[in-house]
Amino acid sequence: MNRYPWWKNLLIILVLLLGIFFALPNLYGENPALQISKRNAVMDQAAVDKAVAALKAANIPVKSARLEDKDGLIQFSSTDAQLKAVNVVREALGEDYPVALNLAPAAPRWMQDMGAKPMYLGLDLRGGVHFLMQIDMQAAIKTALERRVDGMRGDLRKANIRYVAADVENGNEIALRFPDAAARDAALKSMAGNYPELKFNTEERNGEPYLTAKFTDAGATAERKAAVDQNITTLRNRVNELGVAEPLIQQQGDDRIVVELPGIQDTVRAKEIIGATATLEFRLVSGTPTDWVDAEQSGRVPPDARLYHEKDGRPILLKRQVIVTGDRITGASSGFDQRSGSPAVFVNLDGQGARRMADITGQNIGKQMGVVFIEHRTETKMVDGKPVKDKKVIQQVINVATIQDQLANRFQITGLDSPEEARDLALLLRAGALRAPMDIVEERTVGPSLGAQNIQSGVNASILGFALVAAFMLIYYRVFGVTAVVALAVNLILIVAVLSLLQATLTLPGIAGMVLTLGIAVDANVLINERIREELRNGLTPHAAIKAGYERAFATIIDSHVTTLLAAIVLFALGAGAVKGFAVTLTIGILASLFTAIMVTRALVNLIYGRRVRLTKISI
C-alpha cells in the first residue's frame, strides 16, 4: 500500500496554491502608465486630479489613476494613449512634476497589496540602458585635498600666521611654505587638531620651511567612500530629473557604480546628463583688463589670483578665494533674462551660501564678479597599444557682471549659448555635483523592439520545450509520464512564483536556464521510473516496486542534483550580468524539481494506485 500521510498531501496543496498565487500576476501582464512625482516633495492627490482633468479635456481615456507610495500612477490601456498623454500631463503640471513612462502591473490591487507582483524583467527583455561607471579616485583625493587647502588658507589668515604658498602637490599632498620655521610651527600647532584625517609633517625643502599633509589610511578610505556615496546620490537625483521609472543605481566593488535605466530611448542625452561633472563657482574679479593680458603674456599671476579664460578665449584674473561653490546651490531653473531675453539660469542658495554671498557682494558693490563653469572631461587614447586616460578640466568664465546690489539667496546667471544649455545646467545644478569624475567603462543598450522580440523568443522556446519533453515522457512512461508532466508544470509555476516573489531580475539567459531546467528536472523522474521498472522485472509486486523505486533512486537524485547545483552557485557567485540571471533560474529550478519530481509525483502515484489493494499491473 502506498499512501501519503494527510499532512504531506496538505503541504503539497499549500505549496501549489502559494505558487499559483504568486505566479498569477504574470498572467495579467502590465499596463502602460505614467509615473508622476513631485520635485523635493511628496506627491499630492490634487496634482493627480489635475492631470486626469487635463487628460479628460484632451480626450485621452484613462484606465486608472491613484497615489501610490510617493508617486502618482496613471494607467492606460494602450501605449498610444500613454505616449499622447505624457505631453499633456507635462504641460498641465509644469516643471516641478517630473513625468516618467512606466509599466504598471495589471494584477488586481488586493493581489499587489499581498506582495504578488510580476517578475522583474531585465534590460534585455524590456529595453533600456546599462552603464558601469568607474570613479576616478585619484581625482577624488586631489579635489578633497584642494577643498582642505582652501580651508587652511582661511585658518592661517584668521590666526594671523603668514605663509608664502599653499598648494596641492603630486595630487596627493598638501604643501604649505612659510617664511620661517616659527610661523610653520605656529601653523602646525593651530591646525593639527582641526584635521584628524590628515597626517602633518614638517620638512625643509631647498632650505625653506615646509609643512606638508597627507591623508591617513583611514582618512583616504573615508574620502573614497564619501566620493562613492555622494556620486550615487547625485546620479539618483539626475536620473530622477531625466524621468526614468524604476532606475537601478548601486555600488559595485570599491570604485564602480552600476546605473540601469529601463525603457530609456535617448541614450545620448542620458549619457551626457549622467556623466556630466559640470558645476559653478563664483569669484571676484581681480585687477584690470591690462593686468589680465600682462598676466597671460608674462605668465606671472598675482599670488591671490588665478588666470582664467572667457568663452571667446580672452584672459581674465579672478581672486583665488571662492565666494560660493556649486554645492551651496539648492535650486535652479532655466528661463530667460527679462531685460536682454538671453537664456538664463535662476539659482537658489542655501543659508550658509546666501550669507557668504550677501557678505561679500555687500562689501564689493561696484566691483565685478565672475561665474566659472567647471567641467571634467576624460578621453581615452591608445598609446603603444595601451589605453591612456587623458584628463582635462575645462574652466571657463561664462559670465562677468558688475555687482549692482547686495545679492542674497536668489539671483540669475546669464552668458549661456542656448536655452538647451541653460536647461541642462539648471538640471545639473539642481541634482548636485559629482564629487569625483567618472568614466563609463561598460555600456549595454537594448532597444525596446529587441526587448519585446526577446520575450517572444523566450516564451516560444519555453512552450516548445515543455511540449517536446511532455510528449516524450507521456509516450515513454504513460501514467507515470502523466505524473512527471504534472510535476514539470508545477515546477515551472514554482520557478515563476519564486522569481516573482524575490523580484530577481529575469533575463534572456534566465529564460534559457528555465528551459534547460525543463530537460534536467525530469531526470529525477526518469531515475525513479527506470528504477521501478527494474524492480518490477526483479519480481517485486507493483506496490513494493513503487516503494523501492522511490527509495532507492533518492540518494542518486540528491547526488546528481548537488553537482548541477554546485555549478549553478559558482556561476552565481562569480558571474556577471546575464550569467547571473541564468544561474538564478537554474538554481531555483533544480531546488524546485527536488520537491516536484519526488513529492508531487509520489503523491499523484499514491492517489492513482495507492488505494488499490490487489494491484497487479501499473502503467509505466
Binding site: 543598450t445 519555453s462 519533453v469 553537482t563 548541477t564 547545483l565 559558482v570 558571474g575 546575464a578
Partner: protein
C-alpha cells in the same frame, strides 16, 4: 513497456574501451589543433570594444554600409548580418584616439545619414579593463567548478573515480572548446554560462553511473571488476539516454526559437550533451578502471560489517 534500450542487454562496454579511447584521442587532437591554430572567437565581453545591432526596414546593403563606415574612419569595423538580412551587426575593436563611449553614437549617426530608417536595436560597449576582468572571473569560475566537483566526488565516492571524473570533464570541456573553435561561435558570457552548466550536466551523468557501480560492487560478490562495471553501465543506459534526450529536446527548442542571442548558447549545449553522454558511459568509467579502481575501493563497510568480515 516501451524501451529505448533493451533492459537485459549485456553489451561489453569495457572490453571495447580501446575503440572509445581511439575516438576520444582523435577528437581531442582535432580540438587541440583547432584551438592552437584557429583559436577562439572571443566575444566583446572579453575583448572590450563596441558592438551595435542595427535594424533596417528592408534588406540592408552590407557593402554600402562598409564603404560608408570606411569613409568615416571606422576602418576596422566588422559588418555582418545578424539573424536576418534586415538586422546588421557591427563590431568595432577597442578604439584608438577616440572617446570610446561616444563611438557607438558616432557610428549610428553615420548610418542614419545613409538610411533614415536605421534603428538602434542594441549597443554594447565594454572597456578593455572590464573585458579583462570578466575574462579572469570566467576562468576563475571554471577552476572553482572543476575543483569543487573533484572534492565532492572524492568525498562521496572515491578518489580514483573523482580523478576519472575530472579527467573526463576536462576531456569534454576541451572538446566543446574545440567545437566552439571550429565553428567560430562567439565565446561570450552567455556561452560561458552554457559551458559551465555543461560541466554540471556531465558530472551529473557520471554520478548516476558511479552510484550504480558502487551499489553493484557491494551487492554482487562474484564477477570481475569489468563484469560488474559492464552490468552497471547497461543498467543505467536507459536513464542516461532518456535524460540526454529530454535535455536535448529542451535545448533544441531554445535553438529553434531562442533567436540569435541564444544561438551560441544552444549550439554549445547541444554538442556538449551528446559528448557528455558518450563520455559518461565510456570515458569516465574506463578511466577509473584503468586508474586501478578495485572492488575493495568501494567497499566502505560500517564498523559492524567490518567485524563480521574479519571473522574467519
Amino acid at each position: 513497456m516501451f524501451n529505448l534500450f533493451p533492459y537485459n542487454a549485456k553489451f561489453d562496454f569495457f572490453g571495447k574501451r580501446k575503440y572509445a579511447y581511439i575516438i576520444s584521442a582523435l577528437l581531442l587532437i582535432a580540438s587541440i589543433v583547432s584551438l592552437s591554430t584557429r583559436g577562439i572567437n572571443l566575444g566583446l565581453d572579453f575583448t572590450g570594444g563596441v558592438v551595435l545591432e542595427v535594424g533596417y526596414s528592408k534588406a540592408a546593403d552590407l557593402d554600402a554600409i562598409r564603404a560608408d563606415l570606411k569613409k568615416n574612419d571606422f576602418k576596422e569595423a566588422v559588418v555582418q548580418y545578424f539573424g536576418s538580412s534586415e538586422t546588421v551587426m557591427i563590431r568595432l575593436p577597442p578604439a584608438k584616439g577616440q572617446n570610446q563611449n561616444q563611438l557607438a553614437d558616432h557610428v549610428l549617426s553615420v548610418l542614419k545619414k545613409q538610411d533614415a530608417g536605421a534603428t538602434m536595436r542594441r549597443v554594447e560597449f565594454v572597456g578593455p579593463a572590464v573585458g579583462k576582468e570578466l575574462f579572469n572571473s570566467g576562468g576563475l569560475a571554471m577552476i572553482v567548478v572543476l575543483s569543487g566537483l573533484l572534492i565532492f566526488v572524492s568525498l562521496r565516492y572515491q578518489l580514483k573515480m573523482a580523478t576519472g571524473a575530472v579527467l573526463t570533464l576536462s576531456h569534454d570541456l576541451i572538446m566543446v572548446f574545440g567545437f566552439i573553435s571550429v565553428t567560430g561561435i562567439e565565446f561570450n558570457l552567455t556561452v560561458l554560462a552554457a559551458y559551465l552548466a555543461l560541466a554540471g550536466y556531465s558530472i551529473n551523468d557520471m554520478i548516476v553511473v558511479f552510484d550504480r557501480m558502487r551499489e553493484n560492487f557491494r551487492k554482487i560478490r562474484k564477477g570481475t571488476e569489468i563484469e560488474i562495471m559492464n552490468a552497471s553501465v547497461n543498467q543505467t543506459m536507459s536513464r542516461t539516454v532518456i535524460t540526454a534526450t529530454t535535455t536535448f529536446l529542451s535545448v533544441l527548442s531554445l535553438y529553434i526559437f531562442g533567436g540569435e542571442a541564444l544561438r551560441g548558447f544552444a549550439e554549445t549545449l547541444l554538442v556538449g550533451i551528446v559528448l557528455g553522454t558518450f563520455s559518461s558511459i565510456y570515458v569516465a568509467s574506463s578511466l577509473s578502471l584503468d586508474l586501478g579502481l578495485k572492488r575493495k575501493d568501494l567497499l566502505k563497510l560500517t564498523d559492524k560489517e567490518k567485524l563480521v568480515d574479519t571473522a574467519p
